[in-house]
């Protein structure tokens, strides 16, 4: 007994050995996690975390909504007080109505998008958390394998105040029983084959660290006009065709001088995204089979 505790004390007191053991343990954990060996444990642990996060997220969004609305109301009160003080009585009712109206607008956008696209099936999901690490741009939705969600499914959302009905949010990269993680198009690791809607010129839309989008690999002779919609081309088999990614805001010559790059602004505000639609009947195409060397006949 004494020997055991003495041994424990001695190897803990050897700081270098303790550090090496801890680092090796962590490295093993990272490798196992990347290989998917820890997936069952991770899924099990994230279930309660996601459940509590969902509640917190809802509360924080409501509070932040009300805070911004409160400042609006204060400004209005300042103006209205000069003209009609009685109107102040209706302020609280106005706040409630605005809340209902904004919820209605968001849901109406989603509904109009789902009815406009005939050949796609959707599952509506709430955003319950955003990525812990600011370098990564992913969100967590409250739908998982129990709702038929699978890795690779595209995610879209309604666009408020625009003629465009829906815009691309990203792609499901991980699923647990009751939640799924979506890599946003704005993530630096995201690359989507895209084309300009007007002249069908093709390129690749990549996310940037700052949360913006860039359309790369546009030919030198391509006519690019600011305001043109950028849509998915379907090349690569990861996304269906013709989903709106964003709008060209500006363009420039690439540093290499071999192609043009367009700055693209997404029509979706990812910071305030509350609902999203997961396209459930789209099967991503696995092209990796064609990348393997073909045996000689």
């Amino acid at each position: 007994m004494n020997q055991g505790s003495g041994f424990r004390r001695s190897w803990r007191s050897n700081r270098a050995l303790f550090l090496v053991v801890c680092v090796l343990l962590t490295a093993g954990m990272i490798i196992a996690s990347r290989a998917g060996l820890l997936a069952p444990v991770e899924d099990l642990l994230t279930v309660p975390l996601n459940a509590v996060s969902g509640v917190f997220n809802r509360v924080s969004l409501t509070v932040s909504d009300n805070v911004s609305r409160f400042s609006d109301v204060q400004t209005l009160q300042q103006r209205i007080a000069d003209l009609e003080t009685a109107l102040a009585l209706y302020q609280s009712e106005l706040v409630d109505l605005r809340e209902i109206n904004s919820d209605y607008q968001r849901l109406a956008n989603l509904l109009s998008y789902t009815t406009s696209v005939q050949n796609q099936e959707f599952v509506t999901a709430n955003v319950i958390a955003v990525d812990e690490n600011s370098s990564l741009r992913t969100i967590t939705l409250d739908r998982g394998t129990r709702d038929g969600i699978a890795v690779g499914m595209p995610v879209v959302a309604g666009v408020a105040g625009s003629n465009v009905k829906g815009g691309l949010v990203g792609r499901v990269i991980r699923v647990s029983a009751n939640a799924s993680r979506v890599m946003l198009v704005t993530d630096p690791s995201s690359a989507v084959s895209a084309r300009l809607q007007t002249n069908r010129v093709e390129g690749t839309v990549r996310g940037k660290v700052a949360g913006t989008l860039e359309m790369d690999l546009l030919p030198l002779d391509a006519q690019i006009v600011s305001g043109t919609l950028v849509i998915t081309s379907g090349l690569g088999g990861n996304f269906p065709q013709d989903i709106v990614i964003g709008q060209v805001t500006s363009f420039r010559l690439a540093d290499s001088g071999l192609n043009q790059i367009a700055q693209v602004s997404s029509l979706i505000n990812f910071d305030t995204l509350e609902f999203a639609l997961i396209i459930t009947n789209f099967q991503p195409v696995d092209l990796s089979i064609f990348e393997q060397a073909t045996p000689a006949p």
Partner: protein, 172 residues
């Protein structure tokens, strides 16, 4: 005893970080509560406790992220050992040293995290990350270290007092 407190506190911090704090993001930076709690605990805590805080905090953070589990642990582990080394060199860790630890610690934590991400196949842009994520995070961490250090120090003192009185009772 202090290690038992780490789990609920860190889980609360992780949930706050994934839900409430994104509302106050400046560029890509937001306060790193788990890191600050670990650092505050490590300044007066024992190495074994600090290592447990680093593991629990890092794993909890990674569970709420697309990063592989353990990616956030590595930086915090190095920091825990670094702080312990500093503790042995100086009489006490004062205000200026805490500020320096927050700056250097955030930098170390983020850089190690980026290296792990790069090795895991994620696209990493160091320069953009530095200006867009790391510098705002350092600013936020400097702002938040005061209240978090105060809170953790109070908790540590209370735990120490309780364990001392228990030992007294046992010797009597």
């Amino acid at each position: 005893m202090g290690t038992y407190w780490s789990l609920p506190l860190i889980i609360f911090a992780v949930i706050l970080q994934a839900t409430v704090l994104p509302q106050i993001r400046i560029f890509g930076g937001q306060p790193d509560l788990v890191f600050l709690m670990m650092l505050s605990w490590a300044i007066h805590g024992r190495l074994e406790q600090n290592v447990i805080w680093a593991f629990v905090g890092g794993i909890a953070q990674d569970l709420m992220s697309a990063a592989p589990t353990g990616a956030s642990v590595l930086g915090m582990l190095l920091l825990a050992f670094g702080i312990e080394q500093i503790q042995r060199q100086v009489y006490r860790i004062g205000f200026m040293l805490i500020i320096a630890l927050v700056i250097m610690g955030t930098l170390l934590q983020k850089l190690v995290f980026m290296v792990v991400l790069a090795f895991s196949g994620f696209a990493v842009y160091p320069l953009e990350n530095l200006t867009y994520v790391i510098l705002p995070t350092i600013a936020y961490n400097l702002l938040f270290i005061g209240p978090i250090y105060w809170l953790i120090r109070r908790l540590q003192r209370r735990i120490q007092r309780r364990s001392t009185s228990k030992q007294h009772a046992l010797t009597l």
